[in-house]
């Protein structure tokens, strides 16, 4: 049980804050002790307009449904309050890759929800680059991790696990063996045991890349989805399965990620960060089911 209460207790930060945490957070945050990681896949074809732009209202509704399904708390505001407390200092780790950034609408929605949970505005920051110098991130007690899924020509995939690369002063030291050890990032003191929610944006994922900028419109598609959960490894594992299935559909044959996104499996087996094994993932599908690729 890798993302269990026992896991959190074993981490150094949680060890020092154990009493604090048990008072403040429900066991639901720790996977209910089932040994499985719950991942919410929510899809809605109204999430993108005719020009492919994210529709704020729809995405807001999707987030509400996802957070209630994830926590088991019916009211979205209460659900958010179960994971974010008013005295938290919250860094929302976004992604600004120019071809496929985290949608601004989603960043705004997350900030709103954190404000609704009672956190003061000056204690919230939404950022990608420069987080190491950002006073909110420097003092953060909670992190929300949000980024779109895409293929990547060195790590195999741009994932939630990889999204924390900006927390290190020396990102290139994680490039060895096609970024196999990205899971180690999550053991950095700036990060460890702080992540309250992970959202992998699956509105228009990139399933293949070519050329130096690794982007072409030919290789994105409207999937209209969000993957939401507490376990980044489990979410990335589901996301990559969708990418692999899309690649098979597009190319007409099995076409594994190139190179393989081994950092996801190793985040599980080497760093005990979460569950990559589909057998250990409780995938809850909400909304549009067609072309789901799972």
């Amino acid at each position: 049980m890798k993302y269990s209460r026992r896991y959190w207790l074993k981490s150094s930060l949680v060890a020092s804050l154990a009493g604090f945490l048990f008072l403040k957070f429900p066991l639901i945050l720790f996977g209910k002790g089932t040994g499985k990681s719950k991942v919410i896949l929510i899809r809605d074809t109204a999430a993108l307009d005719q020009n492919g732009k994210p529709v704020r209202k729809t995405i807001s509704d999707m987030m509400d449904k996802a957070i209630t399904a994830l926590t088991g708390i019916d009211n979205p505001r209460d659900a958010w309050k179960s994971i974010i407390k008013p005295d938290d200092i919250v860094g929302i780790k976004s992604n600004e890759w120019s071809h496929l950034p985290t949608p601004e609408a989603l960043e705004d929605i997350l900030k709103e929800r954190v404000l609704d949970a009672g956190v003061r505005e000056q204690n919230i920051s939404v950022r990608d680059r420069g987080i190491r110098k950002d006073p909110v991130f420097q003092k953060s007690t909670a992190l929300i991790n949000v980024r779109p899924l895409r293929t990547h020509n060195w790590s195999g995939a741009g994932t939630l696990i990889k999204n924390y690369i900006m927390f290190t002063r020396r990102p290139w030291t994680y490039h060895h063996d096609t970024c196999a050890d990205l899971g180690k990032l999550w053991k950095l003191p700036e990060v460890e045991a702080k992540t309250r929610l992970n959202i992998l944006v699956m509105l228009t994922p990139l399933f293949h890349g070519t050329g130096p900028h690794h982007f072409n419109k030919e290789y994105i598609w409207n999937y209209y989805g969000l993957l939401v959960g507490f376990d980044p490894v489990a979410i990335d594992s589901v996301g990559v399965r969708i990418l692999e299935n899309k690649r098979e559909e597009y190319f007409g044959e099995k076409r594994p990620l190139n190179p393989p996104a081994k950092h996801i499996l190793l985040a599980d087996t080497r760093y005990n960060l979460g569950n990559a094994d589909p057998e250990k993932i409780d995938l809850v599908k909400i909304g549009w089911k067609e072309e789901i690729l799972l």
């Binding site: 890759w97 990547h152 020509n153 060195w154 790590s155 741009g158 990102p171 290139w172 490039h175 063996d177 096609t178 890349g209 070519t210 050329g211 130096p212 900028h213 690794h214 072409n216 419109k217 030919e218 044959e253 594994p256 190139n258 190179p259 393989p260 081994k262």
Partner: protein
């Protein structure tokens, strides 16, 4: 090749688009600042410098042109084959035309031309630029010799992928936990897919600088992939697909993911029959 020479490969104007702001140059140390996350691929092939120029035209999207000086033609060819999806020879020694983009290689250069958003005029301009750059590179590069050893029988031509960095041993699948074949920049390696209507397999060729190095690579590979090498270098993997390998002089060959023994033997024999 210095920065001035790279500049000389670019026209000032094409189809009404003119060179915009100052050209930018990036090397091994600074490429991360330009193509964050994508730099390692180019560095793995060997890379000296890239020039990046923006072309602008009033009321039209921007065009971005990058010319990578890959030091040697084998590197330019390798990085081109790395993301090739189809065989096309519109520009240089091999090209790819995608939505709002043209990619090609010639001599020691790999060229990328991208339109920010698609318009008919912009599409014309990227082809104008490709033609001009192609013409400005006077020589053609040599395709690595190991590629010519591939059997033509049932070869899926666009799958041919040349490399000399161990990372790309896992190009088609996660097969190698480590660099068992001792791939270095001194080796030349190529992956290729072979397919009939019912059968498919992957062929890996590695050409070593000498027979001693080849034997070391072969021994390491054999130890990892074959539990009983004395029974012959052919085995079935967990999914029931066949793997076989062979060493002849400086050339190592292995067939992966083959549907049956005969197919592996046919492929290996055809290499050596050439």
């Amino acid at each position: 090749m210095n920065s001035k020479s790279l500049t000389g490969l670019l026209p000032y104007e094409c189809s009404g688009w003119k060179a915009g702001s100052m050209d930018k140059f990036y090397d091994n140390e600074t490429l991360y600042n330009y193509i964050d996350g994508g730099a390692e691929l180019y560095i793995s092939y060997g890379f000296s410098e890239v020039i990046s120029r923006k072309y602008i035209k009033a009321g039209q999207p921007e065009i971005r042109v990058d010319i990578f000086d890959m030091i040697k033609s084998r590197n330019a060819y390798g990085v081109y084959t790395h993301s090739r999806e189809r065989i096309e020879h519109n520009y240089g020694q091999g090209s790819q035309t995608l939505i709002e983009a043209v990619l090609f290689w010639k001599d020691r250069y790999y060229i990328s031309i991208l339109c920010q958003t698609g318009t008919t005029d912009c599409d014309e301009a990227i082809h104008c630029l490709a033609k001009a750059i192609d013409a400005a590179i006077p020589n053609e590069g040599r395709i690595p010799g190991v590629v010519k050893l591939l059997p033509e029988f049932k070869l899926v031509a666009e799958s041919v992928t040349y490399f000399h960095h161990p990372v790309w041993l896992n190009y088609f699948a996660w097969l190698f936990e480590d660099n068992y074949l001792n791939i270095t920049k001194e080796t030349s390696a190529v992956w290729a897919k072979y397919q009939t209507t019912k059968k498919r397999a992957m062929l890996l060729l590695v050409q070593y600088p000498d027979e001693h190095t080849a034997r070391l690579g072969n021994d390491s590979f054999t130890k990892y992939f074959f539990s009983n090498p004395e029974n012959g270098l052919i085995t079935k993997d967990k999914s029931g697909r066949w793997l076989s390998s062979r060493l002849e002089g400086k050339l190592f060959a292995a067939v992966f993911d083959a549907p049956d023994k005969d197919f592996t033997k046919t492929l290996l024999d055809k290499i050596h029959n050439k």
